[in-house]
Amino acid sequence: MKKSLGAVAVAAAMALSLSACSGSSSSEESATGEISYWLWDANQLPAYQQCADDFAQANPDITVKITQRGWDDYWSTLTNGFVGGTAPDVFTNHLGRYGELAENKQLLAIDEAVEKDNIDLSAYNEGLADLWVGQDGKRYGLPKDWDTIGLFYNKAMLSSAGITEDQMKDLTWNPEDGGSYEKVIAHLTVDKNGKRGDEPGFDKNNVDVYGLGLNGGGDSSGQTEWSYLTNTTGWSHTDKNPWGTTYNYDDPKFQESMDWFAGLADKGYMPKLETTVGASMADTFAAGKSAINAHGSWMIGQYTGYKGIEVGIAPTPVGPEGERASMFNGLADSIWAGTEKKDAAIKWVEYLASADCQDVVASQAVVFPALKASSDKAAVAFQAKGVDVTAFTEHVKNKTTFLYPITDNTAKVKGIMEPAMDAVVSGKAPASSLTQANEQVNALFK
């Protein structure tokens, strides 16, 4: 309550300053003044600050104030802002969240502007622009970037295990015996006595290096944890995507995959879930505790930035249906419905989605921009830094991606699936226990 009174005071102060502003400049169009912009990834801040500076130079009447907030606080602070009237004019939006925000009328539909300003939606990588059309058929954001999943591996550990980088490019996986993926993981696992995971006498309770790192249970999406495996079997999270209304965690095919995944920890090839609370998976990889980490393309900078460790990137393994699979997630910039500077906000969003800004982002080699041309430029920029990112880009090229599950109730689904998945991945419950969680999830849509 203290907080919201503070917010009221801030809002009141803002209202005062706003009215003072508009009083003086009411004769001009409203595309002037300072607009606020939020994002959560600190790695991307320098690129977007550059965009904001360029934008301000091209539009002297508008300045953009960027605020970066960590992911953990981002959404609750944003919600407080919606209620208290202090939300940013423009903010980085997530597929898992925007459905609820649109439904609660917090987002500004931008169809008119997109039409009027002739934004070429086909210039974006396939499907990215359409993700931001809500259930009501209105457009709530313009795509800014995309990400896929790949396997980061420690080159030194690979060569000492006698595994070639070409082998890593042709891994196969199936839920019965794990395919060559499990064989490689087992061989890369080393216990305290120097015995490998596939050698007799391997001590699974005293492991020095795990073949595969573990990020967590993966809650509802398993974005980096297990979806690159489960979705090669023909399984998908929901009945349709976007805007599915039935989740499929009760599918025996999915549960078989999850039992295999949890089994890795039991065999000693992957750390136990309980040991991963705290230090991040990337940092433990850098500390030499795991040989392969499945992670998203937004982590390229982090993995290749560690000193004294050579990192390679392989594509995710080919599944039983003969294809690879990677979750395809994309962010967009959305406008808050309560903005006082609609025109300036639209200008800024269109600039963020334009080649001018996305090329700047590409040149910094931190993420893949949404525009096809800018994506290619980013791949070149990564190459210039000595990083081969084909593992990520070929998913898009070969159309082996599937979309992040976009539904209503995503926060509640996560609330139910997080403990349920933790229980399975930690070996406390069999994957068949997910059937009950799935019933709870699907009850949300009735």
Binding site: L5, N104, T275, V277, A287, E418
Partner: protein
């Protein structure tokens, strides 16, 4: 915790000040008294009474904060009664409160006796309060790093001494005891200070008489110190029990309810339902239940431990 201490202080101040000497005098006092009470009263009404009333109202609604609350009657309470996660959060919180209170009270009593009888230096007494001066979040994060399974310094020591590493925050068996120990460490200095104040209020002649009668140190402690300390101990217990039922920040910045549901304490569950899942009606209903539980616990403690009477009179 601080709230309750503040209230009991202002309540006793209010009841102590108007010693009536004449009716005109009393009326003059009342005006001044009201003036002095006003700042606290305004704060109390705006920051406690009104939000509480609104919270009770919201507990009968479905409310996602962005729309308008919609009246649903007892629906939230019916759903809570059938919610295994609610009962789990009660059990987990109970476990935390039990461990925290047991350790904290025992250690604080010990520290207070040491302060009273051995460590007379103000610096040493002041040092005991240091952990309490640290923000809860900072304390929790420091321990989170020190106790980390992979890279924590504590686990390095454990391994050097030949024992297996302990997943302090990651294992379901350890997660709650670890949280309880951290908060015991942070709060025991403050609790010790409260008890220490109580010890100083016990007149020294009582001890002199006991000594003359040949009572041993243990007998003195059991028959004199503890009974005479009772009102302070009751206050300490009421305040610390209420405080530990409301454990939140340590959990929020470390385990966030996990592993599985091992640290999904009641306050964290309220936060999750309300702020993460935008179900403010449901969250408010659990908060109302927690309020009732705490009121009952405090009442029972005051009633049966006779906290409002002293054996010194």
């Amino acid at each position: 915790m601080t709230t309750l201490a503040k209230h009991s202080r202002s309540a006793s101040a209010a009841s102590a000040s108007p010693k009536p000497q004449g009716s005109h005098r009393r009326l003059g006092d009342l005006k001044i008294a009201l003036l002095f009470i006003a700042p606290a009263m305004i704060g109390f009404v705006f920051f406690y009474v009104l939000p509480t009333v609104r919270g009770i109202y919201l507990s009968f609604t479905e409310y996602n904060i962005l729309g308008d609350p919609e009246w649903v009657g007892m629906d939230n309470y019916v759903a809570i009664a059938a919610d295994p996660l609610f009962w789990n959060s009660l059990a987990v919180t109970g476990q935390y409160v039990f461990l925290n209170i047991l350790l904290q009270t025992a250690l604080a009593l010990g520290l207070a006796l040491l302060m009273h009888n051995v460590a007379k230096s103000t610096i040493i007494r002041g040092t005991l309060l240091l952990p309490y001066l640290m923000s809860n979040v900072i304390a929790a994060l420091l321990w989170f790093w020190m106790l980390d399974y992979q890279i924590g310094v504590v686990n390095q020591f454990i391994e050097w001494s030949g024992l297996p590493r302990v997943a302090f925050f990651g294992s379901e068996a350890w997660a709650i005891p670890t949280q309880a120990l951290i908060n015991t460490w942070r709060h025991m200095g403050y609790t010790a200070l409260l008890i220490f104040a109580g010890l100083q209020a016990i007149p020294s002649h009582v001890y002199e008489v006991a000594k003359l009668d040949g009572a041993s140190a243990f007998q003195t402690f059991r028959k004199i110190t503890i009974p005479l300390l009772r009102p302070v101990l009751v206050l300490v217990l009421v305040v610390t029990v209420i405080g530990s039922f409301q454990v939140f920040d340590t959990v929020a910045v470390t385990t966030a309810g996990g592993p599985v549901n091992a640290t999904r304490v009641i306050q964290y569950y309220i936060y999750q339902r309300a702020f993460t899942e935008s179900d403010f009606g449901y969250g408010s209903a659990i908060a109302v239940i927690l309020f009732l539980i705490l009121a009952l616990v405090a009442f029972i403690q005051m009633k049966f431990l006779k906290g409002n009477e002293s054996d010194l009179d």
